[in-house]
Point group: C2
Chain length 338, copies 2
DNA sequence: CTGAAAGCGCTAACAA
DNA sequence: TTGTTAGCGCTTTCAG
């Protein structure tokens, strides 16, 4: 067994209260006893038991983070930021992979409740009523990252997707493109689906360019495969398309891959702009021009806000829109050059 | 405050001991009281407090996982497997990002010790003496994933890197390549560095092909940038190289990117084989032929073994070499066709 | 079948 | 400056 505070007290010939004070840096002892106790701690290799502390303090110094997919490149960057902020604030993070399953999410939420985590970060998924109820039961701060809740008032940290999509499309337009298509997400996705399509549409309209349903393909997910399969159908719908906006980098790269196979040159014959700025965006060829979400920063910010909320340094959580930028690489060509 | 076992007992007019028995599925009560208690639990929304349980059971149902970089694509796949296995076994996982810093690693280990985690998974990094000492102090099972310890006897789950590299090289040779180069890792890396270079070298020798220091470039890391910068120097050292083996997918793709920029066609003029089979391997163009490590499986297996060890279902942990395969895609051409 | 009570390791009054 | 003591919420003997 690990030595306990009692062992230390006995070894140093003091009471456990004194040891506790010294360990916690509270006032109330002489330099002399302090030294004695520290020697005892050293000699015994004493480590305070965080579990016992948690029981009494009602604080576990732990937060839970829920992702739909921990191995996704998007999640993992966000996670890194969260973990970093948590660590700096003296918290540990428990990761939960919901796999987008409602049952699993609820199960995890219950678990986090039993483990008495001090706060929760919920990422990239819509908040169902079920979840919201548990959040309320738990009475711990909850923060949404790269998602928002349509139905409930929960603080979030994310990018303005409408704006991001709008500017991405505008970027294409300003490069002289007039026939622009979009590989979109799901119509039922109120977070990454609808707003990005809306941003695309409104950008076209602002510049008086043609827009119809034929300009967009929708997809179940935002993966490579979705993009790859979407390109041919978009091409059929919009034969003289010179540029496209994909609602995710993975889809953009899928489209790029399909283009290669079809013998379509990127960007000479087809310009592509993505969304996310994952690490792969600069690894593919040609390197992908994309809307950069500050993923790690978003995680970090969410973590920091959550920690402040837990510590009571901040009372009301205010939502944050994070700035995005358009990162120009090689996948978009300028039509005006010709 | 959350309701406690006391509240339930009072509500149901029984003792806390009885509630405890029912909650834990132990025998010793009538159907009648069981019903009463369950109603009380329902009515109060009682959730057992895992912290209090942990204090008494000396089990937190939590494991710690340490990665040098949680946002790496390799780490995140392993993490997914670990999380999955842990969850199935009734454990939560705390992630720790060591950033390859010794100090930070030690700090985390201490933290996990204080939090009384039941086991540890240590990934992708060499085990320093400092760490090993803490492992021993903690007296919890430790499992290494995709790494091994040269100095200490710790169970691991990984791929045989020498064999993987050997077969990757052999694959190139069997496709008729004779001038083969390698973009290697670090000479000081006993895990992914040395064995892969050795595998490369011995494969060449087995087939009586030329080998010299000029056939390998070494790198600090295994990143895209390393590969990108390595290609030109390797090309200078080995001007008539027709194929190369990169010690990681990221480096392979970096080399591919550099090749594109130099106007070298892959695979027609230069074949490339990677190592890892990350998700990006099938996303790049041409899709990367590579040595596939079953990353998620490795994490899953490690998680499962650790859980068994914790539960005492297994006494001695045996190390496991996981099978790898060569995934043929489009980045290697067959010279014999000509 | 059920309850009283001890105690897990610690913190925080309250005394001394 | 120090020690005593009462819990935190739970499990687990040990009686009844």
């Amino acid at each position: 067994m690990n030595p306990t505070i009692k062992d230390v007290a006995k070894y140093a010939n003091v009471s456990i209260a004194t040891v506790s004070r010294i360990v916690n840096g509270l006032p109330g002892y002489s330099e002399d006893t302090k030294k004695k106790v520290q020697e005892a701690i050293e000699a015994l290799g004493y480590q305070p038991n965080a579990i016992a502390r948690g029981l009494i303090n009602k604080r576990t110094q732990t937060i839970g983070v829920l992702f739909p997919e921990v191995s996704g490149m998007l999640s993992s960057e966000v996670l890194e930021g969260v973990e970093n902020a948590a660590h700096d604030g003296g918290f540990s993070v428990i990761v939960c992979n919901t796999t987008s399953s409602g049952k699993r999410t609820v199960k995890y939420l219950r678990l986090l409740q039993e483990k008495r985590v001090d706060g929760i970060i919920f990422a990239s998924e819509d908040v169902k009523e079920e979840y919201y109820k548990i959040f309320q039961e738990m009475k711990v701060p909850v923060l949404l990252v790269s998602t928002a809740s349509s139905n409930y008032d929960l603080p979030f940290v994310r990018v303005n997707d409408f704006e991001g999509a709008f500017q991405a499309t505008e970027h294409l337009i300003k490069k002289g493109h007039k026939q622009i298509g979009m590989i979109g997400g799901s119509k039922n996705d109120p977070i990454a689906g609808v707003p990005r399509m809306k941003g695309f549409k409104e950008a076209l309209q602002k510049y008086s360019l043609a827009f119809s349903v034929a300009h967009i393909t929708t997809n179940e997910g935002y993966r490579f495969q979705n993009g790859k399969e979407s390109l041919p159908v978009l091409l059929k719908q919009l034969p003289n398309m010179t540029a496209l906006f994909a609602a995710s980098d993975e889809m953009a790269i899928g489209a790029m891959s399909a283009a290669h196979q079809l013998g379509i040159k990127v960007p000479e014959e087809l310009s592509i702009i993505g969304y996310d700025n994952l690490k792969i965006a600069e690894m593919c060829y040609p390197a992908l021009t994309t809307v950069s979400q500050p993923l790690k920063d978003m995680g970090q910010t969410a973590g920091e806000i959550l920690v402040k909320l837990i510590k009571g340094e901040e009372k009301e959580a205010k939502s944050r829109y994070m700035p995005f930028t358009i990162v120009e690489r090689q996948s978009v060509c300028d039509l005006r050059d010709k």
